[in-house]
Symmetry: C2
Subunit: 206 residues, 2 copies
Amino acid sequence: MLENDSVSPTLAERRAEATREGVIEAAWTLSRSLGLTGWSMRELAKAVGIKAPTLYAYFDSKDAIYDAMFRQSYEQKGSSGDAEPYLAAHGERDAFKLAAHDFFDFCTDDPTRYQLMFQRTIPGFEPSEQAYAASQRSYERFAQQLAAVGVADQAHLDLWTAMISGLTAQQISNDPTGDRWRALVDTAVDLFCDHVGIPPTGDQNP
Amino acid sequence: MLENDSVSPTLAERRAEATREGVIEAAWTLSRSLGLTGWSMRELAKAVGIKAPTLYAYFDSKDAIYDAMFRQSYEQKGSSGDAEPYLAAHGERDAFKLAAHDFFDFCTDDPTRYQLMFQRTIPGFEPSEQAYAASQRSYERFAQQLAAVGVADQAHLDLWTAMISGLTAQQISNDPTGDRWRALVDTAVDLFCDHVGIPPTGDQNP
DNA sequence: CTATTGCATCTAACGATGTTAGAAAACGAC
DNA sequence: GTCGTTTTCTAACATCGTTAGATGCAATAG
């Protein structure tokens, strides 16, 4: 393979990138219908119209495909779960409720993606350092948003993650198409805010 | 194979049962050091001193071995997580705190067992109806204990499971040897009790 | 237009996996 | 000792992720 350090990608590189995207898309489709580990490299290849070994021209291994899916998931997440965009137009409590709902909905929108991002369900797969860094960034971003409203205690952040991730996990594994735990998100945020001293909406300026 | 419907097991049956137990024990050992899916039937057989196909005289499949481990886990759990044994000698709130700690400790005592019981981490494995029933029983037992103290709302039970399981999940995946989330169990139970109207200990008879 | 170079894809195969078939060995009862 | 049962074995199958090496194909240089 010839190296190309220039900024503009060559034609071959753009074509290869398109193939890679097609592979990932097919991998998502297979994963949603057969489970993340329910398909083989041969099946994936067939879905793309090539033979299995050809996949290795685009990805080093099956794990590398999972890694690309993992990275893509965090790109899709973006700022879902952040409270900061809401803090300007809403009270603090409402902002955190909206943030919690964003995160909750992002998770339940695609249970397969959730499983890849948050459960360690694929034997042997660990996200690459690069992909893991993305997940760390979104965690620290939220930590700073809590700190910005005066909640700097690590224990409080830990309680938040436990409550919100607990609700999403229950929803996805016990009632994937329903609303049993979604309906508890506001309650949970209220309990959390009561505990850490974020006043009820309307009480900030009594 | 000759059938034996009598109550007393024949010698051969007792020997076979002993072998089965040895296999399960070896499977636990391998799972704890290599992960639940990190060992092969050939490795398991070698650990027991037999050849792989012989395992199939004792278990129908690898999944049947996981199923036996799953069932055994719920036997070990027993009443861990139940509040009822504590309700006689303690206030309601304290009883539920003790129950939550029992459950939490049972989970963190053996993360591999936790993974088998509560995460769906083994591709293709679903507990048999019989094994699943055991897990349902312990859930309904707790539901009745909540009802016994006047908390009959399904939503409240859902909130409890989300909070407690959220704490244990975070502990095991982010701090398996530490105490970060264990230290939050009492806080979480307090928040829960405040919400559902279980009075603080000492307030029952003011 | 041809020769060369680099890339894309293929077929064939390897070692490991869970599992099955069928033969051999070991065991218990009479 | 002999028979029937139980236990274990060897050999093999299909499938898995993956690698080696050959072949076809595109674009480029002379």
